[in-house]
């Protein structure tokens, strides 16, 4: 286990171990007939076990996307022993297994518990696994490491009795840089750690964002909550939602609907009143607990005096460095992003062998640490630049060196109708076709984030894609709507539908026409999104529909 990330104390481990024993008993009772499916279903969902299109699916929590090598190896072991040799990294920094047997699920949870992991808070109307910036602790532009705050939220929210049966699921994200890499404003609560004029750290609260059938960008309801009160403030936000959120209509039950219907000002007024009340109740965790957590997220022992020079004589390596490494806060180091989007492959899927390779590389080159990104890639956060070439060679030998970070082939795609019971259309084949069609133009096009969802629930973040695609069911036939102009970043915006939808081949043609028009219209230095925002929808509609 790595030394530079949160380690369970006796309470964490006891809670997880007890949950494994409890679920083992529940499964036994389901199999021997003492529990009917109606009673068992919510219990299995509380442990991340869904019944999906082909089998049971287990979603494993990866808090704020951080993994040690030992944990990553366990994910590979589970893929081999209990599944079909692969796993699917998700848009909430988790991993899913698609072919789980009910009778083996307790053993999987026991294996996960042995490396301080679980599947709690990956389903149900509770506070879900908290997400964060995948470059936390490494990024050159961050104020502080946001993960201690995400970990405190994890501890506060796990099994929170008041918030275990919310009107709907509840998603939180924490960032600490102005460059939003976690789609923070598209969460039920987004928190940005900020510094005020006096130099103190605090939490800016953005509440009521989300995607799904009613996408909304969260407004800021408080720009500075002192960090020794931020859990209390989150509790106030949740309490107002739990009191007034609609339970009569699941499509109107998310907090974004409440904030929208009450209005930001009235919702904020109620939160502030509840906050004042809660402050008198002294519910904030002791500051010593936050300090205990922060002490476990210290910097690795970075070497000093390292050179930033690289041998770029291998053009494939140089391209990968340019596209897939990110500025690190320590001189001589880089953040390396492993693309799980080879041309024509399934976005986010990794074989058990690839998972083990990545674990080994993290151990050898990145202080034993990995991150999962919401864009379904893997990060090695702390790599010496002098080691990048050796790292890249191993990645290349294992199909993990695709140089397409944030480019059109780096597609976010939900599992879609190939795996998901909720989906209306397949996402993955569309992603594969676009990836193949556009591969030759990828470098010329530059940054272009394309995101595909197979239904209105928007697990593929289509609203936030520079180009978004939404699969719908049109009288039993798959149909795809095209959206342009979305962004999940600090310049957050929601994509707009271009017009009538397309069949599977038509949507690929439409994407190509859009990118061709962009290449014809762009001015020097413009990304696709910049050009779209400058010239608007009309030229693209003309290119698509004539």
């Amino acid at each position: 286990m790595g030394d530079l990330m949160y380690k369970y104390d006796q309470y964490d481990q006891a809670m997880v171990d007890a949950r494994v024993a409890e679920f083992r008993d529940q499964v036994r009772r389901r199999l021997d007939g003492h529990l009917a499916e109606e009673a068992f279903r919510p219990l299995r969902l509380m442990n991340g076990l869904y019944l999906q299109l082909h089998a049971y699916m287990l979603r494993v929590a990866i808090p704020y996307g951080t993994l040690s090598s030992a944990q990553m190896r366990m994910l590979g072991h589970i893929a081999d022993k209990y599944d079909r040799g692969y796993g699917h990294f998700t848009t909430r920094q988790n991993i899913q297994y698609n072919w789980i047997k009910l009778e083996e699920a307790p053993d999987i949870l026991a294996d996960l518990a042995s490396v301080e992991m679980h599947a709690i808070q990956t389903s149900g109307n509770c506070i879900r696994n908290t997400t964060s910036d995948q470059y936390a602790g490494a990024a050159a532009d961050e104020l502080v490491d946001p993960r201690p705050y995400a970990e405190l939220i994890r501890q506060w929210s796990t099994f929170h009795p008041e918030f275990s049966y919310l009107p709907r699921k509840f998603k939180m994200a924490v960032i600490a840089s102005d460059t939003d890499r976690a789609a923070m404003r598209l969460h039920d609560i987004g928190i940005q750690i900020v510094r005020n004029a006096a130099g103190d750290l605090g939490a800016a609260f953005y509440v009521g964002g989300g995607m799904g059938r009613t996408p909304m960008i969260a407004p800021c309801i408080n720009s500075f909550v002192p960090l020794d009160q931020f859990i209390t403030y989150a509790e106030a936000c949740l309490r107002v939602y739990n009191r007034h959120g609609r339970r009569d209509n699941k499509y109107k039950a998310r907090i974004k609907i409440l904030v929208h219907e009450l209005g930001k000002d009235e919702y904020t007024r109620q939160v502030e009143a509840e906050f004042a009340h809660l402050l008198s109740q002294n519910i904030e965790p002791p500051l010593a607990e936050l300090e205990r957590i922060k002490a476990q997220f210290v910097d690795p022992p970075f070497e000093t005096g390292l050179s930033d020079e690289l041998d770029r004589s291998d053009p494939d390596f140089a391209l990968w460095v340019d596209n897939n490494t990110v500025a690190h806060k320590a001189p001589g180091y880089a953040v390396a992003v492993i693309s799980l989007k080879p041309v024509g492959a399934i976005p986010g899927d990794a074989s058990a062998d690839q998972i083990r390779v990545m674990a080994d590389l993290a151990e050898r080159y990145s202080f034993d640490e990995l991150r999962v990104t919401h864009a379904q890639n893997i990060v090695l956060p702390h790599v010496r630049k002098a080691d990048l070439y050796a790292l890249w060679q191993v990645l290349d030998a294992n199909g993990l060196a695709t140089a397409n970070l944030d480019q059109i082939g780096d597609i976010i795609a939900c599992p879609g109708l190939d795996y998901c019971t909720l989906a209306n259309a397949r996402s993955i084949p569309v992603a594969q076709q676009i990836s193949q069609r556009m591969a030759a133009k990828e470098q010329e096009i530059g940054e272009l984030k394309l995101k595909i969802s197979g239904c209105i629930n928007a697990c593929g973040h289509h609203h936030a894609g520079h180009i978004g695609i939404l699969g719908v069911d049109r009288k039993g036939v798959e149909n795809y709507q095209l959206l342009l102009g979305g962004s999940e970043g600090a310049d957050c915006s929601l994509g707009q539908i271009t017009g009538p939808g397309f069949d599977e081949n038509g949507i690929v043609d439409a994407v190509e026409r859009v990118t061709d028009r962009y290449l014809g219209e762009r001015q020097p230095g413009e990304r696709f999104l910049d050009t779209y925002r400058r010239i608007g929808m009309a030229p693209f509609k003309e290119a698509i529909y004539g």
């Binding site: 389901r30 199999l31 007939g33 499916e37 019944l51 299109l53 082909h54 089998a55 049971y56 079909r84 698609n98 072919w99 789980i100 047997k101 009910l102 009778e103 399934i346 109708l417 190939d418 795996y419 019971t421 989906a423 397949r426 993955i428 084949p429 594969q432 039993g476 036939v477 798959e478």
Partner: protein
């Protein structure tokens, strides 16, 4: 025709009602006519299947074809992983679902 489908309780595998038992192969399914509710209640109570329901299907020259694409994908397996479908030797098996 009406056919019944669900998942095996232990393995989660997609299964189809043959009139006698549950099969992995949709081509073994039988038309249950108006008896869907009776069969489903009995079989789920006996824990031989879970999450079961009736769907529309038709019989054609290739066998039984569920009316909706979602059920055809359930019957075959994920179209993006031919190796994991029930017809791994047929690279074009995925065309059947469209």
């Amino acid at each position: 025709m009406k056919i019944l489908t669900g998942n095996d309780l232990k393995s989660g595998a997609v299964t189809w009602w043959t009139g006698v038992e549950w099969s992995l192969h949709v081509e073994d399914a039988v038309d249950v006519g108006d008896n869907a509710d009776t069969v489903l209640a009995r079989e789920q109570a006996a824990r031989r299947v879970t999450g079961a329901y009736a769907i529309d299907a038709a019989r054609d020259e290739a066998g039984i074809r569920p009316a909706h694409i979602k059920e055809r994908i359930r019957a075959l397996g994920p179209t993006v992983r031919p190796d994991l479908t029930l017809k791994p030797a047929d690279p074009n098996a995925g065309q059947w679902v469209i």
